[in-house]
């Protein structure tokens, strides 16, 4: 276990519930992370400043304030990945948190395996700086960001300029949940953030071209009500 990529990460856990802190700490320490805890947003911000964590796990339902404000404050001075924990009913809080700069979310209740998988994905995405890699390969697909070329089994795949921008936006932020708003803004421009039907149609095109079964995608996953996630496997 000590050889896993998440070893020696410093994780800050902001969660008010003792029992949850307990098992998350156990799970993280099991894979070799160093864990710092905070039971309120205020305390969390202080810890984030002093401990310089590699990852923050933040519960959105804290009694002393809005988790979204915490993320906005944090993003003013730090790009550290943030994993948000939330109860399902707060769907739109989650979107808000992701729009504010959170990287991923987990719905309560979640299992240890799920938690570790998310942390792994976030850590990997974070280590690889965007633009560092100009050729991204997943499965039989190869995306050349520099030459704007996509191949599948070494055969060129025709993608339109908009489809390519959407593809590039997704694959350069591997593992991260990108909200509808973020994708529309980055691919089409700020005037299009409310027109989510564009996204549905172009994601459909991309899946038709790059997925074996578009109805059961392997790489371009739907986060219902929230956005999309690229998962290289």
């Amino acid at each position: 276990m000590s050889t896993s990529p998440e070893s020696f990460l410093t994780v800050l856990l902001v969660e008010d519930e003792q029992a949850i802190r307990c098992f998350v700490r156990a799970a993280l320490e099991g894979v070799g992370c160093r864990v710092h805890e905070a039971d309120s947003l205020h305390r969390g911000l202080l810890e984030a400043g002093t401990r310089q964590p590699d990852l923050i796990i933040l519960d959105l339902g804290l009694p002393d304030g809005d988790g979204v404000d915490f993320i906005r404050d944090l993003r003013a001075w730090s790009g550290v990945p943030v994993l948000v924990l939330s109860a399902r009913i707060e769907e739109y809080d989650k979107v808000e948190a992701l729009d504010a700069g959170a990287d991923d979310y987990l719905v309560k209740p979640f299992g240890v395996a799920e938690l570790l998988a998310r942390i792994r994905a976030l850590n990997r995405g974070h280590v690889r700086e965007p633009g560092g890699n100009v050729i991204i390969t997943f499965g039989e697909i190869c995306v050349d960001l520099e030459h704007r070329q996509v191949t599948r089994n070494d055969q060129p795949v025709h993608v339109t300029p908009t489809e390519f921008r959407l593809l590039a936006t997704l694959v350069t932020q591997s593992g991260k949940v990108l909200t509808h708003r973020q994708l529309l803004r980055d691919v089409w421009g700020p005037a299009y953030v409310e027109r989510s039907h564009y996204l549905r149609i172009y994601m459909g095109h991309l899946r038709q071209k790059l997925e074996a079964d578009p109805a059961q995608p392997r790489y371009f996953l739907t986060e219902t009500g929230i956005g999309y996630r690229f998962r290289p496997t």
Binding site: I20, A87, H197
Partner: protein, 606 residues
């Protein structure tokens, strides 16, 4: 006390009477218009008398009004018995003019004759000292006085009697009529002309004063009504205030009829002594937005007058006015006043209506906010221990294999039960949210293919023993729906299929767009549904076979049904001909917004 619509034969019999009544009313209208525009000196006096009588008679007023209301048919001989004792009313014009016509002329003419005689007697001893011209002045003075007080008729009488008296007493030969000389003819003519002109002018002036006073009274009445009504906060208060105000300020009694939600007028609570309201006429008046009843084109023989309460947006009800039949037809001023009253009440009703809507909306919003807060709190409180439970089981599960523990199976069972608990909590919370109505639907243009993909990914574990056969039309249009809820429907249906069918059997899903709806079917190859109970499955807490070994509170399908119905679709269950169950739901399709973004345009060319 509410009369049912009159039978047809009665209506036919009345037709003849209606025609007659309309002809009569046209004639009478013309007559009253003439009266109103011409000088009516005596009515001014009556007006004053009425005004003075108000305080003294206020106590006895109610009884008389009720009497008048009961008594629709004219009774000869009683017609003017309490005319002088009416309270001060802007609706009393017809009455005043009838008074002038029938009994009001006598005192005026008597006083005219007395005035002439008085001036003659007074001037007789002065005649040796006065010139004839000055004696004529005295006669003119009397003429002006009578004209100002009693109007044109008595003024004419005074003018004539003055001429005669002057000629008889003061012109030589004394105490004999002499019209031979040019001088006497001239005096006679000038006195007559001056008398008539002065009479005419003063009478017109009097009439104008009277008209102005009546207008002021009407304006005052409306002003007071408006002020009283401005304080009304509910429709009941509007009814109470307007009925009371009109009753205290006039001898007309009004009732307000308001419609219910189905636009049917509600019968009022009728107290004994109040006139019967014909609900059929009232409803006609409300539906057609026209005057009906007494003296109008529709049912002119009815005892009451029905006015629609026309507000800017719609008709708000009907104003029923009980007028005295003896004083028909209405003067234009009177009917205009009634119509203004109706508009005033209608506008107040509209204001009250929208105030009520605003209040209701506010209450609903508050309730909605509280419900959301409660559900969010509940969700948080239920999920937190579940999270800890599942997480801690996982932690243990990671540690136990290393210790070769015999409790590993128990641990897995705990985890599975916890997961089921989570599902139950989800369904309960969804159900609670769905009960709140459809305000919370967060619709957007969604791709069904995506939702199916997301649902299948969520069910990776439960579906691992079932081959999945998806047959979605490749060109499915976008559908306007709440993604999370429709995903929930798909998850529940697939999960049900997985739970109720043996391992290894195929589960399938088909989707196609037909016309204006999207039809999605989830089918399986399991034992099928109990025959005849297909629809009861959607009831809360219903389960499949009665003593099924498969557990699970039947909230899942009830949630599906609520979600689909909130979207305007329907869901039903059936058994397939080839065995197994199938669940089909539909969603309405609309035209998605166009794509304005041009693919040819590329802001970052390669």
């Amino acid at each position: 006390m509410i009369k049912q619509p009159e039978p047809l034969n009665r209506k036919l019999a009345l037709f003849d009477k209606f025609t007659r009544a309309r002809v009569e009313s046209r004639y009478l209208n013309a007559r009253y218009r003439r009266i109103l525009t011409g000088p009516g000196l005596a009515s001014g006096t009556l007006s004053h008398a009425d005004r003075a009588a108000v305080p003294a008679l206020a106590a006895g007023k109610r009884g008389r009004t009720e009497n008048a209301m009961n008594d629709h048919r004219p009774k000869p001989g009683l017609a003017s018995s309490h005319d002088h004792t009416r309270n001060n009313s802007p609706l009393r014009w017809a009455k005043l003019h009838q008074q002038v016509d029938s009994t009001g002329w006598l005192p005026g003419y008597g006083i005219a004759l007395l005035a002439s005689l008085g001036v003659t007697l007074a001037a007789m001893p002065l005649s040796p000292h006065l010139d004839h011209a000055n004696i004529v002045m005295l006669f003119l003075l009397a003429l002006v006085g009578v004209a100002a007080r009693y109007g044109r008729g008595p003024a004419v009488l005074v003018a004539v009697s003055n001429v005669l008296a002057f000629n008889f007493v003061f012109m030589p030969p004394h105490f004999a009529f002499a019209f031979e000389t040019l001088q006497s003819i001239l005096t006679f003519a000038v006195m007559l002309i001056v008398g008539l002109s002065v009479g005419q002018l003063t009478a017109r002036f009097r009439h104008q004063v009277q008209v102005a006073r009546a207008r002021e009274e009407r304006a005052c009445f409306l002003y007071e009504m408006a002020r009283e009504l401005s304080g009304a906060a509910t429709a009941e208060q509007v009814i109470e205030v307007s009925e009371r105000c009109v009753a205290t300020r006039s001898h007309v009694q009004v009732r307000l009829l308001l419609p219910n939600a189905q636009n049917r007028l509600q019968p009022p609570v009728t107290q004994p002594g109040q006139p019967d309201i014909d609900l059929a006429i009232a409803q006609w008046c409300f539906d057609h937005n026209e005057l009906a009843g007494l003296g109008t084109d529709c049912q002119p023989d009815a005892p009451l007058l029905y006015l629609p309460l026309k507000a800017p947006l719609r008709t708000r009800g009907v104003l029923v006015a009980a007028l005295d039949c003896r004083r028909l037809p209405l003067l234009p001023e009177q009917s205009r006043l009634l119509e203004t009253l109706a508009v005033l009440i209608a506008i107040v009703l509209e204001r009250v209506h929208f105030a009520a809507i605003a209040r209701d909306t506010q209450i609903k919003m508050e309730a909605e906010r509280e419900r959301s807060a409660l559900l969010a709190g509940l969700s948080h409180d239920l999920r937190t221990p579940m999270t800890a439970l599942i997480g801690l089981t996982d932690t243990l599960a990671l540690a136990l294999p290393a210790e070769q523990s015999p409790y590993q199976d128990s641990l897995m069972a705990i985890r599975e039960q916890a997961q089921r608990m989570v599902l139950l909590v989800d369904n309960l919370l969804d159900m609670a949210r769905l009960q709140a109505g459809r305000a919370w639907l967060r619709k957007d243009w969604q791709s069904l293919e995506e939702l199916v993909g997301a649902a299948v990914r969520l069910l990776e574990q439960p579906l691992r023993d079932h081959p999945l056969r998806l047959a979605l039309d490749p060109e499915l249009p976008l559908v306007d729906c709440d993604a999370i809820l429709i995903e929930r429907v798909l998850v529940n249906l697939l999960q049900n299929a997985a739970k109720h069918t043996p391992a290894g059997t195929v589960i399938g899903m088909t989707a196609r767009a037909t016309g204006d709806q999207l039809t999605v079917t989830v089918w399986d190859e399991g034992p099928g549904l109990p025959v005849g109970r297909e629809q009861t499955l959607f009831e809360k807490f219903a389960r499949g076979p009665v003593k099924s070994v498969v557990s699970g509170v039947g909230l899942g399908l009830a949630v599906c049904q609520s979600i689909i119905q909130a979207h305007g679709g329907y869901i039903h269950a059936a058994n397939r001909a080839t065995g197994g169950a199938c669940f089909t739901f539909t969603l309405p399709l609309q035209t998605p917004p166009p794509l304005e973004f041009s693919e040819d345009f590329d802001p970052h060319p390669t």
